[in-house]
Subunit: 147 residues, 2 copies
DNA sequence: CCCATGTCAGGTCCACTGACATCA
DNA sequence: CTGATGTCAGTGGACCTGACATGG
């Protein structure tokens, strides 16, 4: 049989496990978003826009962990599909504040429900307290790395 | 200033935090491996081979979360650079067991030390007990997702 | 026969880097 | 001038599908 199943002794490495978990999660979310014609970055952008209307291209890029160049392409696609809208000219500076359209809000609702199910499945073996601990520890990992 | 810094209220989502942590970690490890002329997938392959000599292409692919086609390309590169070696003919079946060369072992030692530093920095705000908890919870997240 | 493996090919997707103009 | 932004262009990595030969 295969020597690599689960539990190479690399699972003593937090980094390896982190990568694995993120990878499995990405695949799972991808799978539920694909039938909706959406990928993770597009979904993340819509979710961010719902919570913080008027975010600019660069701000969305930072919020979804991609470059502003990549986000530019994403936004062009979302705009083409009528899910978001941006003013033709910048009201101030070069920043173009982006808004969800009614259609975008509708699609997001569907996608959001699907993604929430995945996340619930991921947390199904964790109680509320552990979820909070997990978030706390991940935040501290991020802080540590950015030092 | 930017409205997106740290702490959009999405950090109540484990999934979002997980993606962010993995993203920051990837960037950090990339940064230390780049000067060594290595990327994360190559490093992961060498690390796996050090712990489990003789892994095949397909097994390495599963262990690093890429397809066997992608791993095939990676191995060709590592072989060309003299970091790994594979027999010309399969000793049994079609499986070609891969081995680290002395050079590969040497490069891995350097890379491994660099990566370990990053991982230590990531865990700097966690005590031993918390690290174990984090691993445990990540493992349960993976199990939950694969159900 | 069925399945896993190693490998090659073609096409696609996605994110990145580089570069440039614009504006506070 | 500096720094942030929006955007265009090119590049690279990893994916997928398909294919085929080989071996348990």
């Amino acid at each position: 049989m295969s020597q690599v199943e689960r539990g190479v002794d690399l699972d003593s490495s937090v980094g390896y496990l982190l990568k694995q978990t993120a990878s499995v999660l990405q695949v799972a979310i991808d799978a539920v978003l694909r039938p909706l014609g959406m990928n993770v970055t597009q979904y993340s952008s819509l979710e961010l826009l719902a919570q913080r209307p008027g975010l600019s291209n660069s701000e969305l890029a930072r919020g979804t962990f991609v470059t502003r160049q990549s986000m530019n392409v994403v936004l062009q696609g979302l705009e083409r599909d009528g899910l978001v809208s941006r003013p033709v000219v910048a009201p101030v500076g070069r920043v173009l504040p982006t808004q969800l359209t009614p259609l975008g809000r509708e699609r997001l609702a569907t996608a959001s429900a699907a993604v929430r199910k995945v996340e619930d499945r991921m947390r199904s073996d964790l109680d509320t307290n552990e979820s909070a601990q997990l978030r706390s520890m991940l935040n501290r990992c991020i802080d540590g790395l950015q030092r």
